[in-house]
């Protein structure tokens, strides 16, 4: 019946139109305009405080529920299962094993008990090791109403389930579409505006406009993730002609830092949407994109980076020396390439608060798209950024020592564990060189220092020459 359907149809259309325009107006007023101008209403912080209160309430309810059933709440032990002794050197431990009677002897001395040291270390690492747990998401003490971080779902009462259901509705029905809209707007604007600015002749105006454009688009992206960022020590912000290094947890790190300053990015050329974005960005400000083949050529990389920092009008370079994503509980080995260039290094520490949504990208578990979806459907991304005072390479310090010094500073500031291990172990096998280190250390205990022996027996030279091939770097103790 046509006459019946028509008014209803009209009504429906009208309602839809009103909804959509109301939606977009709200979006514009509360999110996009402030992002463009760089002001904030404080809505996100209020949101964060409310969420925290709800999480605490939820955990209390679960504990109460567990107590009623006379059972234990499973609390993931984020600090490890076993008590590790304070790290002492191989020499110390073996001397302890042998007892006070043994001292340095001239003849190589082996004791049957020596094997205990290696045996215990081995079994300890089977039960709980420092490295492998850095490549999976951190476990939470309290529940944040996301199924992905819940271990105690048997203890959820009706009230909690309702709350959780509400949470799902809000996150997927309200927040996710909102965020996707914002993300699309942000990236679209970035593409368009950087291309436009790129048409201007090189000069002060172009640099100024390009800065503004970049900052604006990153601010929109930050709102697209509902990222609540606290910047500390802004007086130490990286300046032109320097390199900014930070610990790496997720590709979002870039957005977090670029929200507050302009950096030149370094990376491989991608295809598809990423490639388009890269090409657009390069038109208005100097970024460093490498072809896949060029990445292996370390001299080429070093030269391009060096040329960039030598030009004082160019923005500071942003580099993540770990080379891979770590789960934000520790900082792993920094690759020395960026520390060899010889310019000022500005360290930055980034620490995420996992209660609102785990930002770590576990690339073996999730692809980029599913990762972004998870990010956009968590509550928020809360993090703190500390700008550390600039550091320079000191006299007599080589690149590796400098890198370790910077790494220690970042770890201390961010409250992260400072590890000597290489993040590349996520995918690669342990190098045999590490096992050789252990063997070397043990043989020293038995046979004594090779140099001393050499002085005693100048005639014999049976010992392999490669014992003294330069100083050992980063002993894996």
């Amino acid at each position: 019946m046509a006459w019946f359907v028509f008014p209803v149809d009209n009504l429906l259309c009208m309602c839809l139109c009103i909804c959509v325009s109301a939606w977009f107006t709200l979006l514009l007023v509360f999110i996009i305009v402030p992002a463009v101008l760089g002001v904030s209403f404080g809505i996100r912080r209020l949101y964060m405080k409310t969420l925290l209160k709800i999480f605490e309430w939820a955990t209390l309810r679960m504990e109460r529920g567990a107590k009623e059933k006379n059972q234990h709440l499973y609390k993931p032990y984020s600090n490890g299962i076993i008590a590790k002794e304070p790290p002492s050197s191989l020499e110390q431990e073996i001397q302890e094993l042998r007892g006070p009677a043994s001292t340095l002897r001239s003849e190589p001395e082996f004791e049957m008990a020596d094997i205990f040291y290696f045996c215990r270390r081995g079994v300890e690492s089977i039960v709980d090791d420092e490295v492998t747990k850095r490549f999976s998401a951190q476990e939470l003490e309290s529940w944040n109403l996301l199924t992905r971080s819940n271990y105690n779902f048997r203890h959820i009462s009706l009230r909690l389930s309702v709350l959780w259901g509400l949470g799902v509705l809000i996150r997927y029905g309200l927040l996710l579409p909102l965020r996707v809209t914002l993300a699309v707007t942000g990236i679209g604007l970035l593409l368009v505006l950087t291309t436009v600015v790129g048409f201007l002749p090189s000069g002060e105006l172009r640099t100024y406009l390009s800065e503004k454009v970049h900052l604006m688009c990153y601010r929109i992206c930050v709102r697209a993730l509902t990222a609540i960022i606290t910047y500390h020590n802004r007086e130490n912000k990286p300046k032109n002609g320097g390199i900014c290094v930070a610990n790496h947890t997720t590709p979002i790190d870039v957005i977090i830092l670029a929200n507050d300053g302009c950096y030149s990015m370094v990376g491989q050329v991608h295809g598809g949407l990423m490639g388009m974005v890269q090409r657009a960005m390069v038109r208005s400000s100097p970024h460093i994109w490498f072809e896949r083949s060029e990445v292996k050529d370390r001299h080429l990389v070093a030269k391009r980076l060096g040329d960039h920092v030598a030009d004082k009008t160019k923005q500071p370079i942003l580099i993540f020396p770990e080379g891979t994503c770590i789960n934000n509980t520790s900082v792993m080995m920094f690759k020395k390439g960026s520390f060899e260039i010889g310019c000022t290094v500005y360290p930055v520490a980034i620490k995420y608060d996992p209660r609102f949504g785990d930002a770590f990208w576990n690339s073996s578990k999730f692809g980029m798209v599913s990762y972004l979806l998870r990010m956009m459907s968590s509550w928020a991304i809360v993090c703190s950024v500390w700008y550390l005072p600039p550091m320079n390479r000191q006299e007599g310090e080589d690149a590796v020592q400098f890198a370790n010094r910077v790494k220690a500073a970042i770890a201390t500031q961010g409250g992260l564990v400072d590890l000597l291990w290489d993040g590349g172990l996520k995918r690669a096998k342990v190098k045999d060189a590490l096992k050789e280190e252990q063997q070397k250390l043990y043989s020293k205990v038995l046979v004594g220092d090779q140099e001393d022996q050499r002085e005693d027996k100048p005639v014999e030279d049976e010992k392999p020459k490669d014992d003294e091939s330069g100083p050992d770097s980063a002993e894996g103790q």
Binding site: Y77, I81, R120, E436, Q439, K440, S443
Partner: protein, 194 residues
């Protein structure tokens, strides 16, 4: 404390394991999590290559032998109960244990730990550490850092000191005697938290 946690129900043979090994429910649950972490393909059992995920083990000179200790001869896989039984040897010694001769000695006693260490040397399980086996272990622990001659002399001296019945091999009793003064409980124990 009191009744077992609900998380324990997903662990196979939990009650029995707790009785046998003396691990608490919390320990068993954590060990099960670790087992599942190493068992990436969810097969319910571990193979030697799954231990390869532990990076610190790959750096250990006798890492392969330690992995081998989890697999009884002829077996290619280890399930969770066996995994726990091996790790139980590393629990600290129970000082308050009543010395009841009728009860079987617990695996984490001093003798139990010594037996574990003995088996790391005695790979063919004939009850004696032969000169060849000793040389193998020494080569593993020292790698290329010593010459063949040095290795032989080290092995010679070790056998001389420990071998009391002059049969050019070290039996378990001789092994035990040579380690009389060593604080095995401290050196071969892992303290499990909570």
């Amino acid at each position: 404390m009191g009744s077992s946690s609900s998380a324990l129900t997903r662990v196979p043979q939990a009650e029995q394991l707790m009785q046998e090994t003396g691990f608490s429910p919390a320990h068993i649950v954590r060990l099960f999590d670790r087992f599942e972490f190493l068992d990436k393909e969810r097969r319910g059992e571990l193979r030697p290559q799954d231990f390869g995920a532990v990076k610190e083990l790959a750096m250990n000179p006798i890492g392969d032998r330690i992995i081998g200790a989890f697999f009884p001869p002829g077996q290619e896989t280890v399930d969770f109960p066996s995994f726990v039984r091996v790790l139980a040897r590393f629990r600290p010694v129970d000082k308050n244990r009543s010395r009841d001769p009728t009860q079987p000695e617990p695996v984490n006693s001093r003798t139990g730990k010594l037996k574990f260490a003995f088996q790391l040397y005695d790979q063919d399980r004939d009850g004696k550490i032969s000169r060849a086996e000793l040389l193998q272990v020494l080569r593993a622990m020292l790698g290329m850092q010593v010459t063949e001659e040095q290795l032989q002399s080290i092995a010679d001296r070790a056998i001389q000191e420990a071998d009391l019945d002059q049969d050019d091999a070290i039996s378990f009793e001789e092994f035990r005697k040579s380690l009389e003064k060593v604080n095995i409980d401290h050196k071969m124990s892992i303290r499990f938290l909570r």
